[in-house]
């Protein structure tokens, strides 16, 4: 039942109405009558959306080992403090000298992220990872153009990369050249050597890669690309795995983004919002997007175009997703260096433990000779061949067992794969229960495959017809 179906003409909540006032505008400018939005009581709204919320799986209700997404638990206090009235009611045009508390948080956050990434400077404004990537690509471009090097039109992207990488490179006006992965899950260095040249603007590298392994040739890759005059970009969405162990700046990367909504305490919000700060080393720092925050004699202040003349400019109307930035700030203050190190340690421990538990139960790792990082890949190809039950069926049946499914069929390189990221915040008992469920489902696959083809059975809906959704798009309710 849609909220529109609860609507009855004239139903409304008086407390939500501003007083009726005379309107001095000519009728021709005005719309005919009120917009046809639902006319419902506050109770109907509450009940409708409360019930809808209960139809979701979420971190607060379920284990959610969705690979590449870092669905970890984020302390509630981070959100609560980011929404303190003083922050929440601040108009973005409020001048800096009356916003010192807010700017202090941003400035310190810039500093902490620079320290964590080993980069020189950080700009906080990008509103998600993809926008951070785009900023990085625009910085590639600005750097080469500043050196009057206009032929570098190509960005190299490993074939296992997240879809946003090639899409961001294209938005920045580059062509994308895919670099294959070798059978151990590392970038194929020979192919890379063949690909670089005077047309190479740079490379975008995800590490740990979306295959769930640490790229072992980083030094060589950066060497090859830099030798060819290119730049190197680090996709830091998987930062959870490396905190305190390696720093992209020290590894030779020129620029990177971080996903605050994965690693730094912003839950995913059913799709967002996030924040994708960009961090840059010596060479690319001047090109970072504005605004940034600086600290001068009269306190904290915005750094804008006139302070940073080489900046690629603005990506956001104001300072980006400010409340998300405050969350990250609180999170970092709570954890400190030691706590951050524990994040990576436990994320990697949990992934390797779950991998071991699944291997014990006979599941097949995609890269059997590799360590898991914060996530790992298994392939259900043997199960498919043996029982006709595919990864999708497994995924749907996991829902019946009360687990969100891992990421399926991504990356595309591995058939029937599950990318599994347990995160550091889950308990050992939860991991054991998940491994056990996988085992039970495989048993069901052997004895009753039909049950899996038609799963899920215990959710608010049965398997959803996505083909029909695409073939006969019904994208909005319309009044009859």
């Amino acid at each position: 039942m849609l909220i529109f179906n609860h609507s009855r003409p004239g139903r409304r909540t008086a407390a939500h109405l501003a007083p009726e006032v005379p309107i001095d505008l000519p009728a021709g400018l005005l719309r005919d009558g009120d917009p046809p939005l639902p006319q419902v009581s506050e109770l109907q709204v509450v009940r409708h959306y409360t019930r809808l919320s209960q139809k979701n799986f979420s971190i607060d209700t379920h284990f959610y080992p969705l690979g590449s997404c870092t669905m970890k638990y984020n302390p509630k206090v981070c959100g609560q403090l980011a929404l303190l009235p003083g922050f929440q009611t601040r108009h973005p045009e409020r001048p800096a000298r009356f916003s010192q508390g807010f700017l202090a948080c941003l400035c310190e956050l810039q500093g902490m992220l620079a320290e964590i990434t080993g980069m020189k400077e950080v700009a906080l404004s990008p509103m998600a990872g993809a926008q951070g990537e785009l900023a990085g690509m625009l910085m590639f471009r600005a750097y080469h153009h500043a050196r009057d090097d206009r032929e570098r039109r190509e960005v190299l992207v490993p074939d296992a990369a997240h879809g946003t990488n090639p899409a961001s490179a294209v938005m920045a006006g580059f062509q994308v050249r895919e670099i294959p992965t070798d059978r151990h899950g590392d970038v194929d260095l020979d192919a890379l050597r063949r690909a670089v040249g005077p047309h190479t603007a740079g490379i975008m590298l995800t590490n740990p890669s979306t295959l769930g392994v640490f790229e072992r040739h980083i030094a060589e890759i950066n060497g090859i690309v830099h030798a060819a005059g290119g730049l190197s970009y680090y996709d830091g969405a998987n930062l959870n795995a490396i905190l305190g162990r390696v720093r992209p700046g020290e590894m030779g990367f020129d620029v990177m983004h971080l996903n605050l909504h994965k690693t730094f305490a912003t839950p995913h919000g059913g799709g967002g919002p996030g924040a994708g700060p960009v961090a840059a080393g010596e060479r690319l720092a001047p090109f970072l997007p504005v605004p940034m925050v600086g600290r001068g004699e009269s306190g904290y202040d915005w750094l804008v175009e006139r302070h940073r003349p080489q900046s690629i400019g603005r990506l956001t109307t104001w300072a980006g997703n400010a409340a998300v930035l405050l969350r990250a700030y609180v999170y970092l203050r709570i954890l400190g260096a030691e706590g951050l190190g524990r994040v990576a340690d436990h994320a990697v421990l949990n992934a390797n433990y779950l991998l071991a538990a699944l291997k014990e139960r006979g599941f097949t790792p995609a890269f059997p000779d590799r360590r898991a990082t914060h996530e790992f890949l298994i392939t259900l190809k043997p199960e498919l061949e043996q029982t006709g039950v595919n990864a999708r069926d497994f995924a749907k049946r996991l829902l019946d067992y009360g687990f969100h499914a891992p990421t399926t069929y991504f990356p595309l390189l591995v058939p029937e794969c599950f990318l599994i990221e347990p995160t550091e915040t889950e308990s050992r008992e939860e991991l054991d229960a998940f491994a056990e469920a996988m085992h039970l489902i495989r048993r069901e696959a052997q004895h009753n495959p039909e049950k899996l083809h038609t799963a899920p059975h215990k959710l608010p809906v049965r398997r959803v017809d996505e083909v029909r959704a695409a073939r006969e798009p019904d994208l909005a309710w319309r009044p009859r």
Partner: protein, 443 residues
């Protein structure tokens, strides 16, 4: 756990990291604080700056947000869920998106809405890129972008689209009214052009002659992108009806005024709507209504072949994470307020601004800069540089508006002021008194 993995220590789990890459010094961060201590710190930081009575707008507006909105949007099941890729486990989020899409279509009189973009500025940039893709016939990469659009929106659009070799051509506004002139637009659109952006209201708060503008563009074959404040559309004619039943091709903008707190500028909510015929050029997520295996209604992400996770370098955009939670809040807000609630908030904001202008222009040397109708903000000419006036007003606890003299030097000492439905007669009177005193002291 280590034993089961077969390692002796956690360090061993990192043994594939080449020695040369490992960091040789521990992170230097402030020491860990407990929740109590960080709560105190943040409370002090948030309270350190005196509260100001807000008369600033410029794309971010202080409207009332019913308590219910965030009590519901703030439920863990909404805000700790991921993007609804696993349909059966995400019917809650999906139905909210479908309802959001539906409400935005109703409010703007459009046919399709996506599930959100980052903010108003990036929504405009995406709309421009989309319009150029959708108007492949025209083969033009020129887009008309009026000067009376938010100056930062124009900068963001430039940052985001020029790398793709689009040309953004500035359309001047009439200095007497601050509005666009349909004849000028017709002439500029006449020279080869893929799309024209039309704001409603414009950055100065002015109500544009949108019908005439849309008709002026029509002969050129350029697509029309409406950039609107969605709350204003509860009162004014929506973009889907501009210039006749057909309306604009694309409508976009910032939906902060639909239930989102000011929050220092973000997270906000970019929206993008279009005609059905352009849907395959739409960036961002879409949810469709379908059925499950038993024929019961169900929802699913759809037309995903436009998106980066399927289409990669040939996607309509790189957007992935969007503003889902803000979209949820806006949906609940619209449901609570209903059409009448939104219209009344819009009308009361307009009314308050009329009163504000009357009050302030009663002071010597303060006068309206433009002669035209406005929605809920407008530009005043001051007898002093706005920066000085604003600083003095802050001493009286008032955020007096936005200084236009840097972005629009041609306007002289111009101040953009705004009053929403929250500004009472007393608030307006406080502003008038404070401004009166500031001007006197300067005289």
């Amino acid at each position: 756990m280590l034993a089961r993995i077969g390692v002796a220590s956690i360090d061993e789990l990192f043994d594939e990291i080449p020695a040369g890459l490992r960091s040789d010094r521990p992170l230097q961060l402030p020491p860990a604080m407990n929740e109590a201590a960080v709560s105190r710190l943040m409370l002090e930081r948030s309270l350190g700056d005196t509260p100001l009575l807000c008369f600033a707008g410029g794309g971010a507006y202080e409207h009332h947000v019913p308590a219910t909105v965030w009590e519901l949007a703030g439920r863990g099941e909404f805000y700790t869920a991921y993007t609804p890729y696993q349909a059966e486990a995400s019917q809650g989020t999906m139905q909210v998106i479908y309802e959001y899409q539906s409400m935005m279509c109703q409010l703007l009189a459009m046919e399709v809405s996506n599930a959100s973009l980052y903010d108003g500025a990036t929504a405009l940039a995406e709309a421009i890129l989309m319009a150029v893709r959708a108007n492949r016939r025209s083969r033009s990469r020129r887009v008309l972008l009026p000067r009376n659009i938010h100056p930062v929106y124009r900068q963001v659009a430039r940052t985001l689209v020029t790398a793709q070799e689009l040309e953004l051509v500035e359309v001047p506004f009439d200095p007497a009214t601050g509005l666009l002139d349909p004849q000028t637009v017709a002439a500029m659109a006449g020279e080869e052009c893929a799309a024209v952006v039309i704001p409603q209201p414009d950055y100065f708060g002015g109500i544009e002659p949108v019908d005439e503008l849309v008709r002026a563009v029509a002969p050129s074959g350029a697509l029309v992108v409406g950039l609107v404040n969605p709350l204003a559309m509860a009162l004014l004619r929506p973009p889907g009806q501009w210039g006749g039943a057909e309306g604009v091709d694309i409508a976009c903008g910032e939906a902060q005024s639909l239930g989102l707190p000011l929050s220092s500028g973000g997270p906000y909510l970019g929206f993008l709507c279009c005609r059905e015929r352009h849907v395959r050029q739409m960036p961002g997520r879409l949810v469709g209504r379908t059925v499950d295996d038993e024929g019961q209604p169900a929802f699913a992400l759809t037309l995903q072949a436009r998106e980066q996770h399927i289409r990669r370098s040939r996607a309509t955009s790189n957007i992935c994470t969007n503003q889902g939670l803000m979209m949820t809040a806006a949906t609940i807000h619209m449901a609570l307020m209903g059409g009448a609630g939104l219209r009344r908030a819009a009308a009361a904001s307009h009314r308050a601004t009329v009163e504000l202008v009357e009050a302030l222009t009663s002071l010597p040397g303060v006068e309206p800069l433009f002669d035209r109708l406005f929605f809920h903000e407008t530009v005043l000419r001051l007898p002093l540089p706005p920066a000085r006036v604003l600083e003095a007003l802050e001493g009286h606890g008032i955020l007096g508006g936005i200084d236009l003299s840097r972005a629009y030097p041609e306007l002289g000492d111009a101040l953009l002021v705004c009053a929403t439905e929250l500004r009472t007669g007393e608030d307006i009177e406080s502003y008038r008194c404070a401004l009166g005193r500031v001007l006197e002291q300067a005289a």
